[in-house]
Symmetry: C3
Subunit: 330 residues, 3 copies
């Protein structure tokens, strides 16, 4: 007998907004199982014989390697293109649609795609004979990051009572905080959300209005502030964002971003202000907005806990897409 | 008992001109078996424990990935260098001869090599202790592409009766059409060839005289034309070529090449002119010489049929070189 | 019963100077076993289920591929980043400490790291939850190269009697000859060393004083000379060094280095001067300081013998670190 509802199979993973609460709960239940197996270093040959295509048109170590380990730990193999945009048919002018149809003709079982152009992954999925997981499409979506962040919050107790989640820093360009807001909306859709959001950013890097409007419509409680210390004192979860300097082209914006990095930096002077039970999260990699001095504090959950969750969630997704029979047996 | 003649083992695959008809027939018989196994998603661990070196000194997704999947589906593993020219000992000045001898000393079982310099792969083969497959040496040979094209033609019925094969577009720089002519010559060497070639190109991009002379010597029937519509009406097989813009350095030539792309482009206006039984082929990747509007037409055989054949032919070659015992049992 | 002493487990491999003689002897005994298994093409699934991270922040084919084959022949799998500095979180400013902790959170079993900054690998090791092997840190250490060179010398008989080992060419920048001196010091620490070193270089490329002082302290017999022919006549082992042109930034130094390449080049004119029993070694890849004319001479041991030893030593190290139980049973 299984407690996992029959809401599957999953196919393409394109957006943090595509999931129902039931689906997310199933993904996280499978993620828990992946953790148990990995913690015991137990071999999981669930995807033995399968081949996963990793097409990364944009540099990425974090996401790319996390998928590579996820694939490997499941007994599958990957064929990768780490800099697909530069050293590939793409340089000869090939569309993502042709690429995915070709790779599917080689019997890839699934493609993980990162692309710098918004919407490219969805375009590929439209013609794809095989499931596609969006590993980030430029300023657009990064659904597996949203899932791992929500999983981290929930497993650290975010749904047990009223909790304050501070999102701090560059909320304008930070793709992960935008996706996190959206998956929170999906997860508590039609139910009271125990999370109160504190969106803490300097004026030039406030969260965009589209997300604010979505939060309002979903009746998620939130407030905006630029008072980092005040936010810090109240935080149950303090989610620090990475400066997306590589997405800024304007020199004036870069200058202001550096100010964010200084003024909204988290370091050991802040530890005394934080609740003993609080958790510090960060999507990594970090630059200087999060001091390594914090790493030894027990409230630092970004490394290895949060990063490992990324791999485990990806293992769960791969399994659920390619082995719905396995999930059905749980 | 086996219908496969004893013409093996194969060793290096360097040129489309190296094969006898018997060898090609065997390669294609093994390719058929690979297709049957793959269509059933049947595990083929014929090369379990083997390690294949992929040395690509020139960017290539299509060929490189097709080999990677071929290796993986056979249960072997690959060690790859996707941009060998830039990030490797080659940058320190190493010769291909030293590279292949070194990789062989690591117990690679076979090397697949692409190089931008004509003749480099043959030079490596001269000193190589392990078999080498030429995956394209600049403007030179690309034998596995020739094999996959001939296999595609034959399995679509090109040898059943008199057929007209139109090669269209840039015939001067198109490496694949040159190789295809050569393997047709080899395959029907000493026998009547049922294929009549129509070489359709604007004057500046005509097939070079070397190939024309070889066709004449082999008594292969061919004609040259610049009338694409006329060719299209008669075609049983219409092989559209990709513009090799990356091989052109002269601006005037690039300008003319763009004209080819416009004037010799195949799009949905042409569908009504073509025979219902015709097949459209293309080596891919395409730029704009082949409209995606054609993809849904049942006569479009380039994707996924022709691309998949590329992987299957490569699986066959790897098996025949490394497992002659398996082939002998067929 | 085992002749292998209980001096393990090994953990990080950071420096040629870290080993005791007993450890080196065990490494070489395991290397011999690896050779026997590989020579018989015997499957060694000692590391089945293990995943090795290859983080190369600096281009390297030789070392990188040698590790890739070592991993593969042991039944393990690797997740690699061949140009980690350029296409990775490093480009976003991540430290090596964060990188190794993250990769460890993905359950990599061991990391092989090459970095262009001296000391980077040791910094990573300080925080690493998993073993790290230094595959070269800029002008610093390259311990696996030192081990393979010493193994090559010993298996060719360097410890059987008084032998003369000539190190020839660029001794100033040649990282391998520096490491080789250090491991010789370690290996014969407290025991008479049968090797007499002849350090043969032009004045501008003499071995640095730090190594000379270490040799003196260790009472290793050595002499310095610029007379290549004289050295050649006496050599039992002639270790030719590669010009490290990529480490020179000064034009004047490059000019002088080219002189070394000319004046200290080894070619077939030298063969008649050498002892019939001598061995020619070279770390490879070579540029023009070692003529391919020598390759056919039986005294040329650099290819495939010495290169293959590199892979075998690396197989031994991976096994000893990750499978101390296996080594204990020997």
């Amino acid at each position: 007998m299984s407690s996992i509802p029959d809401v599957f199979p999953l196919r393409h993973i394109l957006s943090a907004s595509q999931f129902t609460r039931e689906q997310i709960e199933t993904i996280f239940a499978v993620t828990d199982q992946m953790r148990q197996a990995r913690d015991k270093r137990q071999a999981l040959d669930l995807l033995s014989g399968r081949v996963i295509s990793l097409m990364f048109y944009e540099p990425s170590t974090r996401t790319s390697q996390s998928f590579q380990y996820a694939v490997t730990h499941l007994g599958a193999r990957f064929v990768g293109s780490k800099n697909a945009g530069e050293f590939s048919s793409a340089a000869k002018g090939e569309t993502v649609e042709d690429t995915v149809r070709t790779i599917a003709s080689y019997d890839a079982d699934l493609m993980v795609m990162r692309h710098k152009v918004l919407g490219s992954v969805a375009k590929a999925a439209e013609v794809s004979p095989i499931p596609i997981i969006n590993a980030g499409d430029g300023p657009g979506e990064h659904p597996t990051q949203a899932l791992l962040d929500l999983y981290t919050l929930l497993r650290l107790g975010a749904d047990r009572e009223e909790t304050t989640l501070v999102l701090n820093g560059d909320l304008k360009y930070g793709r992960t905080v935008r996706s996190l807001c959206r998956i929170i909306i999906r997860y508590w859709h039609g139910a009271p959300c125990p999370i109160r959001l504190v969106l803490c950013a300097p004026d030039a890097f406030r969260m965009n209005n589209d997300i604010l409007a979505e939060l309002r419509r979903a009746e998620i409680s939130f407030e905006e502030t630029a008072d980092m210390e005040g936010a810090l004192r109240r935080a149950d979860f303090f989610y620090q964002t990475r400066l997306q300097l590589e997405r800024l082209t304007d020199e004036e914006e870069k200058r202001r971003a550096n100010l964010v990095a200084t003024d909204f930096r988290l370091d050991d002077r802040h530890l005394a202000l934080m609740r003993p039970s609080a958790s510090i999260l960060h999507p990594l990699p970090r630059v200087n907005e999060l001091s390594p001095e914090l790493d030894a504090d027990p409230r630092a959950k970004y490394l290895p806990y949060q990063t490992r969750n990324g791999m485990l969630v990806r293992m769960a997704l791969l399994t659920m897409i390619l082995r719905p029979d396995y999930v059905a047996q749980l």
